[in-house]
Symmetry: C2
């Protein structure tokens, strides 16, 4: 599956089959993340991969009781160490770097027949406590991974002319 097909077929999967993810597939997802670019090649991303059912259930509670978080066979906590680095443009590096790596996982997952969902609705302190993550580390996002139990709906996106400008800002 080429990149565009993966982009087109990715959707936020909020219902999963009760089927575990083969270790070799999971390895490829993590390998795709590993190869991501980062500011100054910091590679400050750290991934805690959770398959334990009890832990996933606790993560569900920490994620506003979103059922699919407990249902998905894999939940990845995408974390960052070295969270103080700021680029000259003024942006913190770690949210951007972790996002890039995590989207590599999401796109590779589509190619593996898997689905994912980005999750920002969680209590960071609770997730840290559940997974034993140190204070100085940030949990940037959670992501569920598993075989989708649902089909994609249509994508609702702004047309290109609302998001792209040429040569100068102006609409």
């Amino acid at each position: 599956m080429n990149v565009m097909e993966s982009v087109q077929n990715r959707f936020s999967v909020r219902s999963y089959l009760q089927k575990s993810v083969e270790p070799e597939r999971l390895q490829r997802l993590l390998e795709a993340a590993r190869l991501a670019p980062s500011a100054r090649n910091l590679q400050e991303w750290r991934f805690v991969v959770v398959t334990n059912e009890g832990t996933r259930e606790r993560l569900m509670h920490a994620a506003q009781e979103q059922r699919f978080v407990g249902e998905a066979p894999v939940v990845i906590a995408a974390c960052a160490e070295d969270v103080e680095h700021v680029m000259p443009c003024g942006q913190l590096s770690h949210p951007i770097d972790v996002a890039i790596a995590l989207e590599h996982i999401a796109l590779q997952a589509v190619d593996e027949g898997l689905g994912t969902c980005w999750i920002g609705a969680f209590d960071e302190a609770q997730v840290k406590e559940i997974l034993g993550i140190p204070d100085e580390v940030r949990v940037v996002q959670l992501m569920t991974v598993g075989y989708p139990a649902v089909a994609p709906g249509p994508k609702t996106r702004k047309p290109l002319n609302e998001i792209v400008m040429y040569e100068r800002w102006g609409k």
Copy 2:
């Protein structure tokens, strides 16, 4: 080219051929960005696509005189409107959402035979002034796009066992 090949073949291209990017290729890059996921489907990304030589030269000056910024036939300023939105986990949405969309561009570019480079080393105020970008908008990153004049070197990345943990934090 499948996702993994694109991930493997992507590198930070800092030297470009003096050959323009075909409009239909550029459209596909932007289409890949358009289809990205975002928090609450905000789609707060805005892309200013610059091909004008004089403007690219000014952007080069705003980007710490990095030569390839003026040399690349296309420079994209990846911006965000609606920059106040914070997810329940405590992360601002816009750096993450813009990063996802911009990496879609980077991966699609590889499939098109193009190269890109993420740029965080720029003066945001100067870039805003050059492109007429309003105060309330953030310029999250710049990205150059063009045909590479160089071949990729080896990737230097931490091994998986330094970035992945299972079930709990702990190394």
